[in-house]
């Protein structure tokens, strides 16, 4: 950069702000309550805020994909608009220094999380029978053997073995880890293992899609706690 021009260059960019003010209750079903939104607001700390797009992306990579994977980017499911990451919980040092922005769930950012994680769930479900996910038809990312094994165990018909929950438990641990207390798992398991479940007779891909979506949108997965 030229000296003469450097002096004139503006180095501060502006950050978009989300002006929406109302929070949306998290949409997963069958789960025990973390805290309702008003309590989260009253607390005012990072507890109850999103872990953020970078942390969540990292967690997904660690649990699902091969070590050192760099290609996976959750925001691909948001139409490739990189500026949307600003709405999904990020640190920013512009303006008032060191601020975590858009960490509180609201209708807009929940819509975006829902879009991104629904897209991911669908792509994983579609990958049944393979060892890799295919995103946007051309990005192929290998699963780690542990997750591929857990996923493979469910990619069969019928997906639910009503006498044995082991494959379900292992799938939960592989995706959800231990972020959520056991009660969350029990509620999730009972929903899918119930003969009255709307997924009782669904195809394995449909069930896996729903299982993943409910795990990803679980408050314990998305929020600090």
């Amino acid at each position: 950069m030229r000296y003469w021009n450097k002096f004139c260059a503006s180095q501060v960019s502006k950050v978009g702000r989300c002006g929406l003010a109302f929070a949306l209750l998290m949409s997963s079903f069958g789960c025990s309550r973390l805290k309702d939104s008003s309590e989260i607001k009253a607390a005012g700390n990072r507890v109850g805020e999103f872990k953020g797009i970078f942390a969540t992306n990292r967690i997904i990579v660690t649990r699902l994909f091969k070590a050192g994977e760099l290609k996976f980017d959750l925001t691909r499911y948001l139409g490739g608009d990189a500026s949307l990451i600003e709405l999904l919980g990020v640190y920013s040092n512009i303006g008032p220094l060191n601020d975590f922005r858009n960490g509180t769930p609201n209708s807009l950012n929940m819509l975006l999380w829902n879009m991104a994680l629904s897209g991911l769930s669908k792509d994983i479900a579609e990958s049944c029978g393979t060892q890799q996910i295919v995103i946007e038809k051309f990005i192929r990312i290998d699963y780690n053997p542990h997750f591929a094994d857990r996923l493979g165990a469910l990619c069969k018909e019928p997906v639910i073995d009503f006498k044995n929950e082991e494959s379900l438990l292992n799938f939960w641990w592989a995706v959800q880890g231990f972020d959520a207390p056991r009660e969350e798992y029990v509620a999730w398991r009972d929903f899918f293992m119930s003969p009255q479940s709307p997924y009782a007779k669904a195809s394995s891909k449909e069930v896996i899609n729903a299982m993943l979506k409910t795990m990803f949108l679980n408050p314990y997965f998305l929020l600090e706690h």
Binding site: V47, H146, F178
Partner: protein, 636 residues
């Protein structure tokens, strides 16, 4: 019959259950709450120490789970991802945490853009890993972290296909010739003082760009060029031309350009520096090439902030560096400038805004702190010993205006020091304050201050456990003691050990284990903590500053601050009795407390005749304000 069938069913169910359990380890784990709890802690600790990475499926989880939590933390701290975590924390502490402090190339190599924001954060993180001094985070003498190699030379640039080094050298020599040309031009202008300065500036600008273009052709990236030749070489010229051509001082410009030429000449050595010719692929902050201690014969620059940080904290001809002062107070001293009236010495009062007690509540600390930056102008350029000061808003002070500006920090003659510049703890007792003049003095104050060690620990608590969660101050201060002890041994790496030990204490704390903690509840206390009915947020501070006079043994003014309980009138309150022995209402009690904490009348300010640190006062005041607001139904 029914009874028999039912019994058979349960026997069968128990058998199935037993045989299943022996078959499946995961089933046993599934129902073991201790397993779930420790595994959850393991995951959380891994993410906290290893820069957001949880336990990978390829790790031996069973082996990890068989270790104690202390052993697991030690093990995780030997993982190089811990250095990234320390960098990340350091940036958080300095208020400079952004989306990411590096970007990753497709081959996995990283470019740590954060070094351009704060080399301090990286130096201190490396120190933690190498067992050196963590307090180097405060040092001004920082190495230059080399993030960029030489730019490649395209065939279009080099059509005759000269050997690359020769081509680069020629370009640098050309930049030296262009510098000679600029020198001649300035000399000639100096001899013709009546020359049109606008015309001069236009021509000088062209020559500067020619120098810059020649260096660009050499492939030396501008980050290296700026660091080793100094962007400020032509400060007089650039600022003078852009802001006020009449202020151009040709002698000073000539001097600067001559220094620049000498540095540019030495810059040629960089063409043979291995880290520049073949930059290493970096994957963690330890691997970044650090150039220091007068490399290329060029003295180290003092770095309090980098250019990027100065831009985040602009000064202006009206804010008098107060934005920078507020930054330092907030980030290094954890003083968020809670506006509490302050008692002022009579000699300072006048009709100025900053002398009004409510305004002075911030200004008595902020203005002297701003004085450390009094000579620092646009993008952090030091204008000391010049007769001009250019601000980030483009305004320029010189001569009389400059003297008036600087006089804002002149100390009264009876003070025994030239400047009223420093870290102020008391507006009335200067012996409690730490005074200085320059940024170097500020660094010394920061390094020696107990408040800074406590603040650093508080920020670690917020980073690892959660921001805005209530913590017992005595507990946080007890952790900070480890930093206090390390202060005495700056060369032993004790401060790095202290950093690790405090981190470990935080990860072993009850707050860390607690999922979904209540914001207003403390989960950890200092050793020897005595149970108290007071809210934990302020119990230690009230015990430390107030209970000496206001306890059940001697409730001065009828106010007992040692006990917080449901009083006879049904309100949860301190015991505060009127002359007739009747309990005051909570509203009346808290009104009195607010007044006593923030009166500008020194004869009524509590604690009476004793010193209470500004941070303690602010913390108690904020709690009392919140309680008072809640009584009045949300109205302040």
């Amino acid at each position: 019959m029914i009874f028999s069938l039912r019994n058979s069913f349960w026997v069968l169910a128990a058998l199935i259950s037993f045989t299943s359990c022996t078959r499946s380890e995961s089933r046993i784990k599934n129902t073991d709450p201790e397993f779930w709890a420790k595994r959850a802690w393991l995951e959380k600790a891994s993410r906290a120490i290893r820069f957001g990475d949880g336990v990978s499926p390829s790790e031996d989880v069973d082996s990890l789970m068989s270790k104690s939590k202390e052993q697991i933390i030690d093990l995780f701290m030997q993982d190089k991802r811990f250095i990234d975590t320390v960098v990340d924390f350091n940036l958080f502490y300095l208020g400079l945490k952004d989306k990411s402090f590096f970007y990753t190339m497709p081959d996995g190599a990283r470019t740590y853009i954060g070094v351009e924001l704060s080399p301090h954060a990286f130096t201190a993180a490396r120190a933690v890993w190498e067992g050196k001094d963590y307090f180097s985070i405060f040092d001004m003498n920082q190495p230059f972290y080399l993030q960029y190699g030489l730019d490649s030379i395209s065939a279009e640039k080099n059509p005759t296909n000269k050997p690359e080094r020769e081509y680069r050298l020629e370009a640098l020599n050309q930049s030296l010739l262009e510098t000679d040309s600029l020198l001649d031009f300035i000399k000639s202008a100096k001899d013709h003082q009546g020359a049109d300065r606008k015309v001069f500036c236009e021509e000088a600008g062209k020559k500067l760009n020619s120098i810059s273009d020649a260096i660009d052709r050499s492939g030396v990236p501008f980050q290296i060029r700026d660091r080793f030749t100094g962007f400020g070489f032509s400060k007089q010229l650039i600022f003078g031309c852009f802001v006020d051509p009449s202020s151009l001082h040709f002698e000073a410009i000539l001097k600067e350009v001559l220094v620049y030429k000498e540095r540019l000449f030495k810059l040629k050595d960089i063409l043979d520096f291995p880290g520049v010719v073949t930059p290493p692929k970096v994957q963690n902050p330890l691997e970044i090439v650090a150039i220091k201690d007068g490399a290329f014969g060029i003295p180290d620059d003092d770095v309090f902030f980098t250019d990027q940080t100065w831009v985040l904290l602009p000064n202006s001809s009206t804010n008098y560096n107060r934005k920078r002062a507020a930054y330092v107070l907030k980030n290094y001293f954890c003083d968020d400038l809670t506006p509490i009236n302050v008692a002022l010495p009579s000699m300072h009062t006048g009709n100025k805004h900053a002398s009004d007690p409510s305004c002075a509540s911030c200004h008595y600390k902020m203005d002297p702190m701003a004085g450390f930056f009094k000579n620092i102008g646009i993008i952090g350029n030091d204008f000391e010993n010049t007769n001009v000061l250019v601000f980030d808003d483009g305004a320029t002070f010189k001569n009389e205006a400059l003297n008036t500006y600087l006089s804002a920090w002149l100390a009264p003659t009876e003070a025994g020091r030239k400047w009223n510049v420093g870290y102020i703890r008391s507006a009335t007792d200067s012996s409690r304050n730490s005074y200085g003049e320059s940024l170097r003095d500020l660094v010394t104050i920061i390094k020696n201050s107990s408040e800074v060690k406590q603040c650093l620990t508080k920020r670690m608590t917020e980073y690892f456990l959660g921001k805005d969660q209530v913590y017992d101050t005595e507990w946080v201060n007890s952790l900070a003691q480890r930093f206090e002890q390390a202060k005495a041994n700056p060369n032993t790496g004790d401060s790095s050990q202290a950093f690790k030990e405090i981190t470990k204490s935080l990860l072993l704390s009850n707050t860390f284990v607690r999922a979904d903690p209540e914001k207003n509840q403390c989960y950890d206390f200092a050793p020897g903590h005595e149970n108290s009915t007071l809210p934990c947020e302020i119990s230690y501070l009230i015990k430390k500053n107030c209970v000496q006079c206001h306890s059940s043994n001697g409730a001065a003014g009828g106010l007992d601050l040692s006990s917080w309980k449901t009083q006879g009138n049904g309100e949860t309150n301190f015991s505060y009795l009127d002359a007739a022995g009747l309990q005051h209402s909570k509203k009346s009690t808290f009104g009195k407390l607010l007044e006593s904490l923030s009166t500008a009348d020194e004869s009524k300010l509590m604690p009476l005749g004793m010193f209470m640190s500004p941070n303690d006062r602010a913390q108690i005041y904020k709690w009392v304000s919140r309680e008072a607001t809640s009584i009045s139904g949300g109205r302040p």
